[in-house]
């Protein structure tokens, strides 16, 4: 059993389990799945700076911060206790393209060390991937009113057309970056 859990989980196991998180949160406390809100609550708790959008009682949303703390612990358990030594088994086409386009050579780990290692903050690549990338995620999700969990999973599950617009936006942005800006950057 443990051996089975240690293998990477196929999509048809993981997807339905992620989907079940939506009713689980509703049934245990009438909460809507949404993770990017935690970023707002942390800002409101730490640096509200008199900004109206950050001036509210974030303590009533404490459940959301417990949930993301749990995700961090889950990341530890999933990677170290239920871990699996092999590199992420991405398709050979992706490996080929990333070698050719981004000049990556080390395919171990959850993300490429050649782009995300802290030492990279001494060059422009590290700033683009770590700082600009993170900034766009934080800015964009709040402006859009949600991320993959809040719009794609939670919103589309509840047939929200607004979420469909947001998800199309996510893909337009992602495809632009991958197909237009990556070739310009490298």
């Amino acid at each position: 059993m443990l051996e089975l859990l240690r293998q990477p989980w196929p999509w048809y196991v993981a997807g339905p389990l992620i989907g079940l998180t939506v009713p689980a949160l509703l049934l245990i406390g009438n909460k809507a799945l949404g993770i990017s809100s935690s970023l707002r609550h942390i800002c409101a708790a730490c640096v509200p700076a008199g900004i109206p959008f950050l001036t509210y009682n974030w303590r009533t949303e404490l459940w959301n911060l417990f949930f993301v703390l749990g995700i961090g612990i889950g990341g530890f358990i999933g990677y170290h206790l239920l871990g699996h030594p092999d590199a992420v088994a991405i398709s050979t086409e992706t490996v080929r393209d990333l070698k050719a386009q981004l000049h990556l050579t080390d395919f171990s780990g959850l993300l490429p060390k050649e782009l995300f290692a802290l030492e990279n903050l001494s060059n422009w690549k590290g700033w683009v991937f770590l700082v600009l990338g993170g900034f766009l995620v934080g800015f964009g999700t709040r402006y859009a009113g949600g991320c993959t969990s809040g719009h794609a999973i939670s919103g589309l599950s509840n047939l929200q057309w607004v979420s469909l617009v947001a998800v199309i936006g996510f893909f337009v942005g992602g495809l632009l970056m991958t197909w237009v800006f990556y070739p310009m950057l490298f």
């Binding site: 989907g19 689980a24 009438n30 990017s36 990341g75 999933g78 964009g140 719009h151 794609a152 632009l176």
Partner: protein, 136 residues
Amino acid sequence: MKNLKYLVLGVLFGIILTKSEVVSWWRIQEMFRFQSFHMYGIIGSAIVVGLISIQLIKRNRLKTINGEEITLADKKYTHGTWIGGIIFGLGWALTGACPGPMFAQLGSGVAGAAVLILAALAGTWTYSALRDKLPM
């Protein structure tokens, strides 16, 4: 400790994200290059299961375990829905992580994830500060 149940659910959610490799930059690149069904299968089947679950909750007027009414708020449209959506998408393809996976990556010990989260917080803070000046 009424928040403990959310912590437990978060732990399970984090394990699922990690074991299915949703938290991996490689998988997100593979998705945006249309070179694998993996991510589409995960997102698609999650939506189907979520949709059926919500329908069951609505039709049977289920209540929470504490007997409260379950309410589902409608998402409101603003121009930010698509503008912000595209901005997030640009960042998603760079970082290979949406907010949930960033926290899972940090837990798995990826030091860069701490920078990603700080930068994402800076992004959310900047949006909050500029909100009145942005098209809505």
